[in-house]
């Protein structure tokens, strides 16, 4: 069966979506990611969609759900690499992905994840 690989890099998980996903595959990724976050006690998830030529409301919802689920499990999610045409279309469709952190590319996404995790760590220290 088709599967989108989830790579582990220390306390982060990295997912690169390179194929046009059918709905079940998107749901499976959501499932696999929550399992992986919990098993590895991951602090951050980076989702690279630079190869995706389209994001519709279903995939948009999946991304928003992963982000919300991850937060509950203690992981921050950053979505990176969205193509400009995809961004324009998403906004016109009415999806602005509230609550989903985004960055232009993987490098900036990683920096944003680190920043978010460091900020969380600082909060914990004050308690």
């Amino acid at each position: 069966m088709e599967k989108i690989p989830i790579l582990r890099m220390g306390e982060f998980l990295l997912v690169t979506i390179q194929i046009d996903m059918h709905d079940q595959l998107a749901l499976k990724l959501q499932d696999d990611l929550s399992t992986a976050i919990s098993r590895n006690a991951s602090k951050g998830v980076l989702i690279d969609i630079s190869s995706l030529e389209m994001v519709d409301s279903f995939i948009g919802r999946m991304v928003a759900d992963i982000s919300g689920m991850g937060r509950i499990l203690g992981a921050e999610t950053v979505l990176v690499g969205m193509q400009p045409a995809v961004a324009i279309t998403l906004v016109e469709l009415g999806l602005s992905l509230p609550g989903v952190a985004t960055a232009l590319n993987v490098e900036r996404g990683m920096a944003l994840l680190r920043q978010k995790i460091d900020a969380d760590g600082a909060d914990d220290g004050q308690r």
């Binding site: 046009d20 996903m21 059918h22 709905d23 079940q24 030529e53 389209m54 994001v55 519709d56 409301s57 279903f58 948009g60 919802r61 193509q83 400009p84 045409a85 995809v86 324009i88 279309t89 016109e92 469709l93 009415g94 999806l95």
Partner: protein
Amino acid sequence: MTASVKSGEAPVRSEHDIVLARQQVRRLAQELQFSLVDQTKMVTAASELARNALVYGRGGTMHWIILDVDGRKGLRLKFADEGPGIPNMELAMTDGWTSGNGLGMGLTGTKRLVNEFEIDSAVGAGTRVTITRWK
């Protein structure tokens, strides 16, 4: 004068068919030399409507037509299903409204992605949505 240059249809009976419909629309939009943004809008609109036809209409068909009106080219898609139909059209065309597990952006969102949008539905008589994007 309106002329249909080329037309065809594809089934929308499974999730895989949604992917195939997207790919077909991408090919047609590229053939018409739509800009990348316009291609993406049309493909996304097709994906939304194909999913609607499958999830709410229990499957249907996508008809596509390449139009030529006095040299102006366009792509028209019609999604037809034999499902239960939409009982309250006004409600269905409200931003944020959803009968199922969507984000409530399906129909109104799709309308914003295209130049022309027509919907025809009645309880027990299925739903037909026609969208057109001009180059």
